[in-house]
Amino acid sequence: MLEWHVSLRVFDKIYAAERLDSDDALELFHSDDLFGIGRAASSAAETRHDKKVYYTRNRHINPTNLCVNRCKFCAFSRSVGQDGAYAMTIDEILHTLAASASPFNELHIVGGLHPDWPFSYYLELISKIKLHHPHVQIKAFTAVEIDHFTKLSGLGLQGTLSKLKAHGLDMLPGGGAEIFNEGVRARLCPEKIHASRWLEIHEAAHNLGIKSNATMLYGHIETYEDRVEHLMALRQLQDSTGGFQAFIPLSYQPVDAVETTRYPSGIDDLKTIAISRLVLDNFPHIKAYWIMLGQKICQIALFFGATDIDGTVIEEKIAHSAGASSAPALTTAEMIHLITRAHKEAVQRNATYEEVQ
C-alpha cells in the first residue's frame, strides 16, 4: 500500500543536485507523489538531453530458443525435441537479414544457451554479419550467454570477450540482470548466473572498451528494497567504469509457471522509470522499452525521465512469447509520431548513441 501525501525531504536533495542514497530512493518508491517524482525526473532528463528522445532502427535475431537453463519464468526457451524448438544456421540468419525490407543500423542478438553449439559458431556468426553489413552495429549476447561462452572457449572472461570484440561485437545488451538480490534471484531464476557474475562480466566488457546496457526485471516477488539494491549496484559499477549507456527497467509480465500473478501497474512503471533516472545519475539514458510497456506507457514515460524508446524492432520473440500485447513492430513514422506528440524531438541513433542522418 502506498503512503498518501507524504512530504518529501528528498526533493530538497534532488533540487540541490545532491546524490540520492538508498533511503532516499526507498522514500520515493513508497511515495504517491507521482507528479513531483515525474517532474524531478523529467528535469534530470532535460538537463542531459534537452528535449531529445532517441530511437533506433533495429532488428532482433534470436538464433535459437534451445536453452540448457530453462528458467521457469522464461516462456521463450525450449528443450531439444520439444514442440516449437528451433536453431538457425548462420546461413539462415544471413538470409533473413539480406531479405530485410526495411533498413536497420543496429542488430540485437540474444538467444538460449544451445546445448551443442561451439564458441566458434558465435564468432563466425558475428564476423559474417559484419562482412555483409559493415555499417550495422552488433549488440549481442547477455552476460548469461557470455558466461556460457567462457565455459565453451576455455579462454577466461577477458579472453572470451576480446575474441568476440575482435570478430565484430560492438556492445553487450543489458539482459540477464533480472534482480540482483540473491534471495529473490534464488527463487526467481536459480538457473541463472549470480548477480556478482553479471556485474563482473559487464565490468570486464567495459574495461575492454565494450559498452553495455543494464536491465532490471521488476514487479514480481521483489520488494522496493530489492529494486534499490539493484540500482545502487549498477550505479557503483558505473562510477568505476562508465561503460553503461542505458538502463532499461523491464516490467514483469506474468507467466503461469511462477508463484505470482502480480504485475506492475502503469503507475509503478512510470515511477520506476522516474526513480531510476533520479538515482542513476551517472547513466546517460533511461530507456522505456515499448515492447514490454506497450507504446502508450512508453510515450507517457517520456514525461518521467525516459530519453530512449528503443527501436522499430523487427522480430521480438522473447517478450512476445511471454504474452506482451504490444504490436510486434513499430514503424519509424509511428515512433516519430509518439515522440513529437509528446512535444519532444525525435532523434535517430545507432547502438552507441551516435545520431544518424
Binding site: 507521482l34 502480480r262 501497474s265 502503469g266 512510470l270 507517457i300 509520431h337 506528440r341 509528446a342
Partner: protein, 347 residues
C-alpha cells in the same frame, strides 16, 4: 466565462502534462477523498449491427443486406442477461445501429420482456437511436423517452456524442443527429428523472476549440438538470474504419498523451459532474491505471462483451478479478458500484 474557455484552451495545448495531471488529481481528491475507485459489472449487448448512418469512424455497422447483418435473437439476448446476473452483473448496456426494420413497438416489447424476467438495470439506447425511433414513429423526443421509460428503460448511455460540434459532425458522421438533438434527448431524459452518462470521442478532425465547446455544452446542461452521472472521454480507434485509414495517412492517431490531457481537462472543467471514467477498453489497462491519477475515479465496466470496439481491432480479455487486481495495484481501493454510482461491495 470567456476566461474559463481561454484557460481550457491553454490546458489542451500549453500547460505541461504533469502540471495538468496534478490539477486534475487535486480536483479528483476533493470530489473523491476516500481513494476508492469504482467499477460496474455489466454486459454490453449490441442488439443489431444494421445501421443507416454509416459514420466514417464506425467499424461496426453493416448494410441491411450484408451476410454479416444481424438482429439479436431474443433467446440469445435473455441468455446473455441471465449469464450477466450469474456473474454478479447489475446492468446491461443495450445499444445498436439505426435499423430501419425495427420500430418503437419492438423496443418497448423487448424492454417489457426483460423487465418481466429479470431484476436488472437497463442502460440503453444512445441519443441517435432514440431520435431515430422518434422520427420513425412520428413522436416527439419527449414522447419517445416516456414510452421507453414506461416500458422499462432505466438510464441512457451517453454514446453518439462524439464531438458536440456540428462542424466536426458534418465531417465524420453527416447523417447522425446534430448537437442540439443529442442534448435534447439527454435533457428530456433528465427532466423525466432518468440519469444518463455523457461521452466524448476525440482524435479525429476536431480542434482544441471543438473539444472545449463539447465540455462547455455538457457542463451547461448539467448545470440545468444535474442528470449526468459520469463523463467518459475516449479516443477514436482507427482500426477497420474508413476514417481510420484517412487519419493514419494524415495527422496520425490520438496518442496516450493526448488522452491524458483531455481526461485531465475534463476533470478540471466539469466540476459539476461527479464521476470521470477511465477507458481501459480503448487505452489498455496500464494507461487506464495511470488515468486514475489524471482525473478519473471510475474504471468503467467489466465489459463482458464489447462488439463495437472489438470490431476496430481492440480486444482485451479482462475479468472482474483482473479489474479488481488492476485497481488494487495502483494503491486505490476497488469497489463494485451500480448504475447510479452507489457502492455495492468493497474489495
Amino acid at each position: 466565462m470567456d476566461g474559463k474557455l481561454k484557460q481550457a484552451a491553454r490546458h489542451l495545448t500549453e500547460t505541461p502534462l504533469l502540471e495538468l495531471g496534478q490539477m486534475a488529481d487535486d480536483c479528483r481528491v476533493v470530489l473523491h477523498p476516500e481513494h476508492i475507485v469504482t467499477f460496474i459489472v455489466d454486459r454490453n449487448i449490441n442488439y443489431t449491427n444494421v445501421c443507416v448512418n454509416k459514420c466514417s469512424f464506425c467499424a461496426f455497422y453493416k448494410d441491411e443486406g450484408s451476410p454479416e447483418a444481424y438482429i439479436i435473437d431474443e433467446g440469445v439476448l435473455m441468455e446473455k442477461i441471465s449469464e450477466t446476473i450469474a456473474l454478479g452483473g447489475t446492468q446491461i448496456l443495450i445499444q445498436g445501429g439505426l435499423n430501419p426494420s425495427l420500430n418503437i413497438a419492438y423496443y418497448s416489447a423487448l424492454l417489457q420482456k426483460i423487465k418481466k424476467m429479470f431484476t436488472i438495470n437497463i442502460h440503453g439506447f444512445s441519443p441517435p437511436e432514440i431520435a431515430y425511433m422518434a422520427s420513425k414513429a412520428g413522436l416527439s423526443i419527449r414522447e419517445t423517452v416516456i414510452t421507453l421509460k414506461d416500458a422499462g428503460l432505466d438510464s441512457i448511455p451517453g454514446g453518439g456524442a462524439e464531438i458536440l460540434s456540428d462542424r466536426v459532425r458534418q465531417l465524420i458522421s453527416p447523417r447522425k443527429i446534430n448537437t442540439a438533438t443529442w442534448l435534447e434527448v439527454m435533457k428530456e431524459a433528465h427532466l423525466l428523472g432518468m440519469r444518463t452518462t455523457a461521452t466524448m470521442m476525440f482524435g479525429t478532425v476536431e480542434t482544441p476549440q471543438d473539444i472545449i465547446a463539447h465540455l462547455e455544452a455538457i457542463w451547461r446542461l448539467q448545470g440545468q438538470t444535474g442528470g449526468f452521472t459520469a463523463f467518459i472521454p475516449w479516443t477514436f480507434q482507427p482500426g477497420g474504419s474508413v476514417l481510420g485509414r484517412e487519419i493514419i495517412d494524415s495527422t496520425g492517431h490520438a496518442t496516450a498523451v493526448d488522452y491524458l490531457r483531455v481526461l485531465a481537462l475534463s476533470r478540471i472543467y466539469l466540476d459539476n459532474i461527479k464521476n470521470i471514467q477511465a477507458s481501459w477498453v480503448t487505452q489498455g489497462i496500464k494507461t487506464a491505471q495511470v488515468a486514475l491519477r489524471f482525473g478519473a475515479n471510475d474504471f468503467g465496466s467489466t465489459m463482458i462483451e464489447e462488439n463495437v470496439v472489438k470490431a476496430a481491432g481492440v480486444a482485451f480479455m479482462v475479468s472482474k478479478n483482473d479489474i479488481i487486481g488492476a485497481i488494487k495495484s495502483t494503491g486505490f481501493r476497488p469497489a463494485q458500484r451500480d448504475t447510479y454510482y452507489n457502492v455495492l461491495n468493497y474489495f
